[in-house]
Symmetry: C2
Subunit: 321 residues, 2 copies
């Protein structure tokens, strides 16, 4: 299995730097444990509200001119959909997005608002439908995580962390399909070799944690993984991303649904950031998995901020379900 | 009346650059009117949740070594209090903060958490009590806006806007005591002379708008100005700040309470930013005062994000009072 290199990530950074991804700052948290100073990397502030714009931009930038007229297709539980729609529009490409039927309304509407065609299907059919559209139209599939260009694009977050806090000691990164964690770990292990890279998953979708501990991929059903409130973390690693996780991620910790809900509230009230549950898992781990994490300077990646207004209001009113 | 110069603002930027103020990015809003592209300047992401850290840092950095042992005193409706407390702690100075009794609990607790002594008094007594503390202790008063060093510190926001978006055409800035607007207008008019600088006030605390239209300071009572939900915008300009506003701010527009409440919700759901009502007035103006604003590239300063969790939940559930 060929893993991506930090040179691939540097090339991605060069390729996407004018593609509307924001250079997000590190935000120091004055409410953190002094023994483990905490900085947030607020990727919820990207134009589409999530880090996914980085991988989508790198993959779309590499489509050959001859294939651009046929457009792009993506399947996604939400943020990748918006990212592909947004970037495709900037490049002048037609985008068709296949989303599972449990996707939050906010995300479907936002995807349509970027000019994409949205096809809603049962969660288990999304890859098949996307592949059929690719075959029919000659379009290019932009996978949500299982592609070296997507992984390299997400890894640009790691380059920015290394540049802004070169003596970082721990980086906490959400794990779903593993593209973000694979890319970030590639950059951090190359540039800050002393730093630990810790994946974070909801316990209810903890297949990657179990797989990493077992040393091989353990399959959970889609239905099992769909139980978590963190709707962006319901995918499972591929062979490609699992190979990166095994090689470059130190460990994966899991957090409970209650811890995730409380972390959304902490981020809103203490860090003034609206994070979706998937984006709050790293803060949940920081606050609750102390014994499992290294001491020292910690960065938590807040991966996205797209949640329905009613859910945000509910969490602020009743953090405990 | 001597106004500050852009050189004073450049000097402030140099002085505060290691004082923990974040270099906030401009965030492009994909939901904006294409004829008036909108960028947010998210000062709610500063360590104390508001721009006030900039002015406080510049003023405290200039206290002579001989006076430091006597500490600093400030009076404030909240965010300036936290800023002075936070910066004083970093400089190793004792801080005493006088706050009015209608200050949100969040802000009082946050100020104490930064190690400051907090004295709660009726809103009309705060300046008197602060001056008495200064006389008794030989401490240095850090005023919330009526001081050239504070104005110059807040103006560093204008430098960053000019650097990141040199062809900006309109800058929207909240107006209370006028320190932020004075500083930002000084930087923008020097560096981007074609850009309009528009102040924004709640209509219920619209004394500066009325004063600017009249060409002289019109006094509103503290009680009148206390009616707005935007608790950070209840102060009135001083002679010093009003002189800056007259010379360098193009106009001041006002927004309703309902527009402010709705803008808090828009920022949370569309921009993933938690803004307090005072920080949301510029977005309210962008969305509702279209006829009064220039066309073209617009920056709205989101000045702060400290509001009680219960108020944020209420606004998300019932934006209309």
């Amino acid at each position: 299995m060929n893993l991506i290199s930090v040179e691939d990530v540097h090339a991605a950074a060069e390729r996407i730097k004018d593609a509307a991804a924001v250079r997000t700052p590190l935000l120091r948290c004055d409410w953190a444990d002094p023994a483990r100073p905490l900085w947030l990397k607020p990727e919820n502030l990207q134009p589409i509200g999530a880090f996914k714009i980085r991988g989508a931009a790198n993959a779309i930038a590499r489509i050959p001119a001859s294939a651009r007229a046929n457009g792009v297709v993506a399947y996604s539980s939400g943020n990748h959909a918006q990212a592909v729609a947004y970037v495709a529009k900037r490049f002048g490409l037609r985008a068709t997005i296949v989303v599972p039927e449990n996707t939050p309304t906010t995300k479907i509407e936002a995807t349509r608002a970027h000019g994409a065609e949205v096809v809603v299907v049962p969660i288990t059919d999304r890859e098949i439908v996307a592949e059929r559209l690719v075959a029919e139209r000659g379009a290019t599939l932009i996978p949500p995580f299982d592609h070296p260009d997507v992984i390299a694009g997400q890894g640009t977050i790691g380059l920015e962390i290394a540049a802004d806090l070169p003596d970082v000691e721990a980086v906490l990164v959400p794990v779903s399909g593993g593209g973000l964690a694979s890319g970030v770990a590639t950059a951090i292990k190359a540039l800050c070799p002393k730093a630990a890279v810790i994946g974070v998953e909801p316990a209810l979708a903890g297949d990657a944690a179990e797989s990493l501990a077992a040393g091989h991929r353990v399959r959970w059903t889609d239905e099992d993984r769909a139980r978590t409130i963190a709707d962006g973390l319901r995918a499972a690693p591929s062979d490609l991303t699992f190979a990166h996780l095994r090689e470059r991620v130190d460990t994966i910790v899991t957090v409970s649904e209650e811890e995730i809900r409380a972390a959304v509230v902490t981020l809103a009230t203490r860090a003034r950031l609206v994070a979706e549950p998937s984006g709050a898992v790293t803060t949940a781990a920081y606050l609750n998995r102390t014994a499992d994490l290294p001491q020292g300077r910690t960065v938590a990646i807040v991966s996205g901020g797209n949640l329905d207004q009613s859910l945000l209001a509910e969490l602020l009113t009743h953090p405990t379900p």
